[in-house]
Subunit: 151 residues, 2 copies
DNA sequence: ATTGAAAGAGAGAGGGA
DNA sequence: TCCCTCTCTCTTTCAAT
């Protein structure tokens, strides 16, 4: 695990809050010169601590009003690779985790409406190895924050 | 819903891929002058289509190796407000959704280890209104992408 | 939406604790 | 190793069109 000092942690916190913070603003925030900050940010990227800089959109403003969680029973004896490939190609699937418990996978889906959800469920059920699904519709999002608080 | 033209969609796609893309690189990518691109990005921010620019970290490199999903049975007759406040203060809770089905809420938790998960579960169970919980441990993350593909 | 000038930010060299 | 200053270059912003 990459060793983070206080300044690295401060930079990561600032960059999580504003991914477009300029090097110069970061540099005054942590009281270091710009080249020093620039080097640190590059190192954090190169080491993989920073996965990527991105932009979060408001799903309901880009016509993705319906969120659902889909639990999937899967016969792990076979075909897991093709299922992974399938999940990658479905752009409305935002998260896919292999889980413990009664089901093998859980998906988080962000789609347009119940119609597009139904179509996606049909495609999921048509996958080799999928033997049952359980859909849970999200009524409202209480919190949704990708940020990580570093100890 | 905010009306997005082709250029807005192209800018959003580029900014999701690289949240620190410079105005000048965006401007050559969409063949528009820099002030025009700058104006568009500002409008997308002001209108809320862009929620925020952020930096995604690798959770396992910042000592958050354990992900779990916690489903919560909750007596909705009472105390939902204090539960929401509680969830906000727990920094290891990354997502909280009100859901349909047997449970009322589901949480996505990203924490250090089974010990910190157990402590968090104790705090959750101590909340007024919580009448049952069901924990699912995430064995592996197949995909996890916040990006939205715009139609 | 564009152009062009001024201001600001970033990259790299060289050197010091 | 980590940091600083200086300088040069690139980027961004603003005003006028």
């Amino acid at each position: 695990m990459y060793k983070l000092d206080k300044i690295d942690k401060a930079l990561l916190k600032l960059l999580q809050e504003n991914g477009r913070a300029t090097i110069s603003s970061l540099s005054s925030a942590v009281s270091l010169s710009m080249p020093a900050v620039s080097e640190r940010v590059k190192r954090l990227e190169a080491s993989g601590v920073i996965q990527k800089f991105t932009t979060l959109l408001n799903p309901s403003l880009v016509d993705k009003q319906l969120m659902a969680l889909v639990q999937i029973g899967f016969d792990m004896q076979r075909h897991a690779d093709s299922f992974v490939d399938f999940v990658e190609t479905e752009k409305d699937i935002k998260e896919c985790y292999r889980i413990t418990g009664k089901y093998e996978y859980t998906l988080k889906v962000q789609t347009n409406n119940t119609g597009t959800l139904a179509e996606l469920l049909n495609r999921i059920k048509a996958q080799d190895g999928v033997n049952k699904t359980h859909s849970i519709v999200v009524l409202s999002s209480i919190i949704d924050r990708p940020s990580v608080v570093i100890n």
